[in-house]
């Protein structure tokens, strides 16, 4: 079995290939040709930690993948990262383990950021005046990086709670070539940007429906577990297109789950990104529509980016 560390993965991964394979994965998932067993979850209450195991096999693929990801939120005080993770790639023809990818959670962050890139490419308005980012963490950074190839806009409005974190994000985004405005008022993001990415661990709505202008696209990646929420459910209900990665998963704990539970939308209004990629449903019809992509993260993304990481190695 090949053992690969994060540095090797980051140095060699072909991100354009990863986008292509993640798109293929989304399509296969929505067509029902992916085996995705139930997610395994652990809660380590004493240690303020959790773990989930996500596994997937796309029919016809030479391999399948088991991913273990952990979050231990007191780790920074011990000099360790909060999030860690690894992926195991096994042969679908003889069961032998092929590779252990010790990516420390990086591949999970990247497949999430690449899903944001795919969402923006599919649904962003033709002219992006400003990008809005909610959050200042690793995912908020990777989302902005992954928008570089899909929009010409180089203006970003970033919301965070901490001035220190905002200053750090500003340095990061400036180095990418962005003109950066930071704010502690989420209204400024909602009113100033028309391509918004929400990447926080918030447990309550940060963006009010009334603040959002027609024509805006929103990608929400924060609500990846029960109780998490970034958007006003009225905004979800107002969106002209509601695209999710997995209807089954999003109705449980995605951003859309809150609007469903409040009776503001019917499940029939949800479509999967795989169906959009496959051409079975249509995307943005005009520059006035509000579009929403709700990403909770599905195991087929892990399987596809793991395959790609392996394929990219020298």
């Amino acid at each position: 079995m090949r053992i690969v560390d994060k540095q090797q993965i980051v140095a060699h991964i072909d991100l354009d290939l990863a986008v292509q394979w993640i798109e293929e994965g989304f399509v296969a998932f929505s067509n029902g040709t992916v085996q995705v067993p139930p997610v395994q979850s652990f809660a380590f209450t004493g240690a303020n930690g959790d773990c989930c195991v996500k596994s997937a096999f796309m029919e016809g693929s030479e391999t399948f993948t088991v991913k273990i990801s952990t979050g231990f939120y007191d780790n920074p005080g011990k000099g360790l990262a909060s999030n860690d993770g690894l992926m195991l790639v096994l042969s679908a023809s003889n069961g032998q383990p092929i590779a252990l990818l010790q990516d420390e959670g990086w591949l999970t962050c990247m497949r999430t950021a690449l899903a944001g890139r795919i969402a923006a490419r599919l649904l962003a308005p033709r002219e992006v005046h400003a990008i809005g980012i909610l959050g200042t963490g690793m995912q908020a950074r990777m989302q902005l990086e992954q928008l570089l190839p899909v929009t010409a806009c180089r203006r970003v409005i970033v919301w965070g709670r901490s001035e220190v974190a905002l200053a750090s994000y500003k340095a990061f985004a400036s180095a990418l070539g962005f003109e950066v405005h930071t704010t502690v008022d989420p209204r400024e993001v909602a009113q100033g940007a028309n391509l918004i990415v929400c990447a926080t661990p918030s447990r309550q709505a940060l963006i009010d429906n009334k603040w959002v202008r027609p024509g805006t696209h929103i990608t929400a990646v924060g609500a990846d577990a029960p109780g998490k929420q970034e958007l006003d459910p009225l905004l979800v209900a107002r969106a002209d297109r509601i695209i999710v990665d997995s209807i089954v998963q999003c109705r449980q704990y995605g951003e859309v789950s809150h609007a469903l539970k409040a009776g503001l939308i019917e499940e029939g209004r949800l479509s999967e990104i795989g169906a959009l990629l496959d051409g079975r449903i249509s995307g943005r019809a005009n520059d006035d529509e509000i579009t929403l992509v709700d990403l909770t993260g599905v195991a087929i993304q892990d399987a596809q980016i793991a395959r790609c990481a392996l394929q990219s190695l020298p």
Copy 2:
């Protein structure tokens, strides 16, 4: 992360410690202090293979474990073993991966054999005239080996379908010090032995209720997936003590599931081995009782033997 191969594990594992920790695991499981998320299963129909992912965390333990095991039944034709597997041990205090045990499925075989040893120690009649083994494969061998420390009996009657496999088993058991009788008629096992271990992949009953003598103990380990069966459901219903590793799992696909579905027993007749080990229920009352232990394999055994394998390394 430490990476350990099968040879290192086999050379160093302290099996008495493994028994002790697996017993602790069974007790914790039955007391509800083990987190056992749903098993993840894959079917690779084209390749005649399957995979399952079993994970467990015992509250208070320093580690938790994720196990991946595969069965690809055309592998022998390719010069590969049918079964393979590995275990990952992670820290329950900070989520960091601690060890990858590339045991090739050996730890799963061993924890199953050790559960058979525990079952026999708890429930075998005082005087074992002959051990009966159904099956000639790896598990049938390991079960016999693990009976050595818990019974003085050195006489074994072995049933198999193939004379070649029986001859090979006879050589194996003779080398262990057993007087060996082989047979292709399961009746000989049932009538001649009073400590019987069933370790076959059978999908229909092999032992008829009428053949079994009072006082016999039976450990059934073969029925570890839907459709598998080794015992006459009437024999299950006749048993004075019906002990299972997991009531939840055994009512789905254990040996007892067939008797439950046929309405021959009520679920209230099932007790868990953890409750027996914990002294909350009683075991064999006399030398005339028929006792049955139905083992489907639970993830806490994997977590505990993995911990033990690590602990045993120099």
